[in-house]
């Protein structure tokens, strides 16, 4: 309670008077406090609002991503979308919890063969090691021709799985690179 407020103000804030004057359920002005009066929604003063699309199912609901100081502070439905008209389902509405989950990983983890624990590994080094393994596996399992002399030009030693949760541009680069390397075993969730 603010020091210096007049007695008149104190009395006028008394909930029972508000109930008497119409707020009988005490769900309106009777329930207001200094604290609730000064509360602001997380969406009130964003640095920017970025247009996005829900990452869960394929309905494709529009999202507005609220950003403050480089962090996602809230994700809301986009009322402009002709598909979703501002709505989100429980998953879409929880998307901020998805992108800021306490279980999110921010560092590379490495498990050596027969190892019993994760170890740290620098991203650059991980990329280098993965590239080496792909080159080696490809070399060891390369098939130029089949037994009847027909061109195969491939390796069945490396497989790639996933894509239905990714962007078109990402699927495109996956397919392009894996095909150029000669790996036909590229697959995703979409067996339809």
């Amino acid at each position: 309670m603010t020091i210096g407020r007049s007695v008149r103000e104190l009395i006028s804030a008394w909930p029972v008077l508000h109930q008497r004057d119409g707020d009988r359920g005490a769900l309106g002005s009777a329930a207001r406090s200094e604290r609730s009066r000064t509360l602001r929604p997380r969406t009130a003063e964003p640095d920017r609002v970025v247009r996005s699309v829900c990452p869960y199912c394929a309905v494709g609901c529009g999202q507005r991503v609220y950003v403050q100081e480089g962090k996602v502070t809230q994700i809301e439905g986009d009322p402009d979308s002709p598909i979703s008209r501002g709505r989100l389902c429980p998953k879409g509405a929880a998307s901020r919890g998805y992108v800021t989950s306490p279980l999110r990983e921010y560092r590379v983890k490495y498990r050596r063969p027969f190892g019993t624990d994760w170890e740290e590994l620098a991203l650059d080094q991980a990329m280098d090691m993965i590239a080496d393994r792909i080159i080696a596996a490809r070399k060891d399992t390369w098939e130029d021709k089949d037994s009847e002399g027909r061109t195969l030009h491939r390796s069945m030693g490396v497989a790639n799985l996933g894509g239905a949760t990714l962007d078109n541009e990402e699927n495109y680069t996956i397919k392009k690179l894996m095909t150029a390397l000669g790996f036909p075993q590229v697959e995703n969730q979409a067996r339809i």
Binding site: S52, V53, Y56, A58, V59, G60, G62, V72, P79, P82, I83, C89, P90, K91, G97, Y98, V99, S101, L103, R104, E105, Y106, V108, P113, F114, M127, I130, A131, R133, I135, A137, R150, T151, L152, H153, M156, V158, N160, L161, G162, G163, T165, L166, D167, N168, E170, Y172, T173, I174, L177, T179, F183, P184, Q185, V186, E187, N188, Q189, A190, R191
Partner: protein, 861 residues
């Protein structure tokens, strides 16, 4: 996709979600749309508010059932019997939309005299090859047509359906018209009469016996559909994986396609078939496929036994008529996008740089190869097979046989932790110290941390913009593959090995920005769209050439960067547009929202009715016009007749709306492109408590079975031991979780809303097996046993099928051993048994046992 692709020409939903509001009757089957696609479901509710019938047909009573006008309970795995019953009802009662059927479908076409139906051969079509367990489809062709290719090549098509993803582009016709037709539909070998005979036994009584649906309930559905179709009214179908995840999954979709073609509901407002996809870009990842059997835009991957050079490849995969005639332009433009100046006419535009497939290389084959030690390494991105794949325990064991595994995700999912946190390790079947797999876990960026486009369930590309920078080592998949390719190319630089040329000569230069050197997704989208001889962005796939002067990463997406504008990023508010909202995002093909929409007008080009007008011929302007982009050559008259020698789209008549098909028609009967039959037939699921009432042949003869340790099939009806697994089980999704849980079980709110694995059983089954609501149960199969909390509910009821009472068990499949909400994985229970067209697993119908209490540790097979 072959279900829709072979029937209509393109492997995508024929309509868009908002158009459901125009329906007079919506049948939702194989989908719990209210819970799995809740926001899309608002358009179903709009239709209901306007007086439409909404019919939900499902084994479980769900929120979709509760908000529908009618609910029909059905036995899991019996939908073709039900849909076949509707086809029979339409034909026997003369309810087909005659003018539509005669002009827009292949009903009048006469089929080869060698064709024999399952009704003649006890469950087999003609052409069955016992030794190979597949069909030779020679006798399924239109009469009087020269059969394409040698016997060996035909066998290839029958083996895999590799080229079938997008429809019947193999069929070859003389200027678009089949040689023999009977517009009266009375010739005994015309498609219309074949249909009539094939479905003659699918009576309401038959439906009742097979599906457990009382005959009057069935008649109610059939009548409602027929009453709400025709000139003045239209009906729509919505389906999801409840239809696709069967050993006859593609044929489920085909059955719906036949119903919708007979009733004249394709290409019209309020009509269509809406495929409801479960992942944000599952349609996109098929259009631009991370799939082994196709290249971008449904161009088949070349097959070692069939395709020696580019000319032969194009010849075998293009039709004389329809838009697939331009296969050469699509393929060469893609090769130019990949290999640029290295791709020349002299070297077949680097066609030989493409690896060759030799059969089914789908993920389940890869998993079995992994178990046999044939695969060295695997990269998993944004997928959680340790929970999401059928017989997921086998998948986890297969990963333990790899030399190395890369997992990229936001959180440490079960697939990344299989070596120390899995049921196998807990039971002592695998020991961490014995697993030699080297594992790299790389944290990934979320959608808010990267630019890019998703293609939603209605073929609509929508761009999401990067809102914040990713933290730490988090990177996009675009970053990972771009830099992986860059590093591999640096390491291979100077190599003179022929095998390295495709990757060294690959066009692999994208502008990057920021400290992390993130590649530009916008630049990739522009490459997908394609560029012309002057380097400018193309506007339409009609501009593509087969001479190497154009480059285009995915021909069906050509136009998504027209006028040098990122079209998927368009966001003109819905309130400032028509209800079709053509300036929100960009839909393939050519920004059309309802495809085959020429069928919304009659053969003369006039709307079938004022109430259902959508696209029509404007005689004064000499062009097609309407609410949407016409899915037709804009100035082709309705009375156009192709001249002799016409090719490609010019060989399609002015009154044939299915412009991707060689004959311009919707296919009731599919002569090529589907490997397990030209017409859908009722077969029992691979595991079922029942014999097939129709034939001695129980299951789909062409289904893929992998009988091996860890993947045994359970005894079925009548076989010794079949009483051990007396119940039908079906898997499903909840609103609060997403697929294998990687995006939801790690989210606090969602985990709180649905905290643990449960199973749904009826009060009758609970009484029979002493199951207590809220208590524990163990669900068991030959593959595994899992624990689940019991939910006893009236939403599940036993059905009377074939004179017997059958219980069904419902199993959500989201859980695993990691995250905030943990529990048994339903997919551990299911066998790997697949549809032969698309190699999808049957996890919507199998058999199981259920017992009260927790499972004894270590007692799992």
């Amino acid at each position: 996709m072959p279900g829709l692709g072979t029937s209509f020409g393109r492997g995508g939903a024929t309509t868009f979600q908002q158009d459901l509001q125009n329906s007079d009757c919506i049948v939702i089957m194989g989908s719990n749309m209210a819970e799995c696609h809740p926001v899309g479901y608002q358009w179903v509710m709009e239709a209901r508010e306007r007086g439409a019938r909404v019919i939900h047909i499902d084994p479980r009573y769900t929120r979709t059932s509760a908000t529908a006008t009618d609910y029909v309970r059905i036995r899991a795995g019996s939908d073709i019997a039900f849909l076949g019953g509707i086809i029979n009802y339409i034909l026997e009662n003369g309810r087909e939309f005659r003018d539509y059927v005669v002009h827009y479908t292949n009903a009048p076409v006469i089929v080869d005299e060698g064709f024999q139906d399952t009704e003649e051969l006890d469950g087999f079509f003609s052409g069955w090859q016992d030794a190979k367990s597949n069909y030779d489809n020679t006798t399924w062709q239109y009469a009087g047509m020269s059969v394409q290719g040698s016997a060996g090549q035909r066998e290839m098509g029958a083996n895999q359906g590799e080229a079938a993803g997008h429809g019947g582009h193999g069929a070859s016709l003389n200027h678009g018209e089949p040689p023999e037709e009977d517009p009266t539909l009375e010739h005994p070998r015309c498609v219309f009469q074949l249909l009539r005979r094939h479905y003659a036994r699918y009576t309401p009584e038959f439906v009742e016996q097979i599906c457990g649906v009382p005959r009057d309930r069935f008649r109610m559905v059939a009548k409602a559909l027929c009453d709400n179709s025709g000139r003045e009214r239209t009906s729509a179908f919505c389906y999801a994986v409840g239809w696709t995840q069967h050993t006859v999954g593609v044929q489920y979709i085909r059955a719906a396609a036949i119903v919708q073609l007979l009733l004249g509901n394709i290409g019209r407002p309020g009509g269509g078939i809406l495929a409801l996809r479960g992942h944000a870009s599952i349609q996109g990842s098929t259009d631009i496929p991370t799939l082994y059997n196709i290249l971008p835009g449904y161009i088949p991957m070349p097959h070692a036994h069939a395709h020696d050079d580019l000319g032969q490849f194009i010849e075998m995969n293009s039709a004389a008529s329809g838009f697939w005639r331009n296969m050469g332009a699509y393929t060469v433009s893609m090769l130019k996008a990949w290999w640029g100046a290295h791709a020349t006419a002299e070297n077949d535009f680097c066609f030989d740089y493409l690896p060759r497939i030799t059969g089914d290389h789908s993920i389940y084959q890869t998993v079995l190869a992994m178990l046999d030690g044939a695969v060295k390494g695997m990269i998993v991105v944004g997928e959680n097979p340790a929970v999401g794949s059928a017989n997921s325990g086998l998948h986890r064991k297969a990963m333990a046989k790899l030399d190395w595994l890369v997992v990229r995700d936001l959180v440490e999912i079960e697939t990344a932790a299989f070596w120390y946190d899995s049921p196998e390790v807990r039971r002592g079947e695998l020991r961490t110290e014995d697993i030699g797999t080297e594992v790299f876990f790389l944290p990934a960026s979320a959608h808010t941390e990267k630019d890019g486009s998703f293609t939603n369930t209605q073929r609509l590309l929508q761009w999401h913009h990067r809102a914040v920078e990713p933290e730490g080592d988090c990177r996009s998949e675009l970053w990972f593959y771009y830099h992986l390719g860059r590093i591999i190319r640096e390491k291979l630089e100077g190599s003179e090995d022929e095998r390295d040329r495709p990757v060294l000569e690959l066009q692999w230069h994208y502008p990057t920005s920021g400290e992390a050197e993130e590649p530009s997704a916008d630049a990739v989208l522009r490459e997908i769209n394609g560029t012309g001889p002057d380097g400018g962005a193309l506007s339409a796939y009609l501009e593509l050439k087969d001479d190497g002067s154009t480059a285009c990463g995915c021909w069906i997406y050509c136009g998504c960067y027209a006028d040098e504008v990122n079209q998927p990023a368009r966001r003109k508010p819905a309130s400032e547009q028509t209800w079709v909202a053509p300036e929100w995002g960009w839909a393939w093909p050519a920004n059309r929202r309802i495809i085959y929409n020429r069928a919304s007008a009659d053969p003369d080009g006039k709307p079938w009715s004022e109430r259902k007008r959508y696209v029509w011929w404007d005689e004064k302007e000499g062009q097609w016009t309407g609410e949407d982009v016409p899915d037709f050559q804009p100035d082709k008259r309705p009375d156009y007749v192709p001249p002799d020698g016409a090719r490609a789209q010019d060989a399609i008549k002015g009154n044939h709306p299915f412009i991707m098909q060689a004959d311009g028609r919707g296919w009731l009967f599919v002569p090529s492109g589907i490997v397990d039959g030209p017409l859908p037939t009722h077969y029992e699921p691979h595991e079922s408590p029942f014999t097939n009432r129709l034939y001695d042949q129980r299951g789909n003869p062409a289904r893929q079975i992998f009988e091996r340790p860890g993947n045994h099939t359970q005894p079925t009806d009548g076989e010794p031991g079949s009483d051990r697994f007396p119940f039908v089980m079906t898997s499903y999704r909840l609103t609060e979780h997403h697929t294998a849980g990687g995006m939801s079980r790690f989210v606090p709110y969602l985990s709180e809303l649905q905290p643990e694995m449960f199973c749904e059983v009826s009060p009758e089954l609970a009484a029979e097996r002493s199951l207590v609501n809220g208590g524990w149960a163990t669900v068991a199969t030959e593959r595994a046993a899992i624990e689940a909390r019991v939910l006893v509910t009236d939403r599940m009821r036993p059905l009377r099928v074939d004179g017997r009472l059958v219980h069904q068990v419902g199993l959500p499949y989201h859980w695993g051993s990691r995250g905030l909400a943990r529990g048994g994985s339903a997919n551990d229970l299911f066998p790997i048994v697949l549809d032969p067209n698309v190699h999808i697993q049957e996890v919507k119908a199998a058999t199981c046992d259920i017992r009260p209490g927790r499972s004894p540790r270590g007692a799992v097979s």
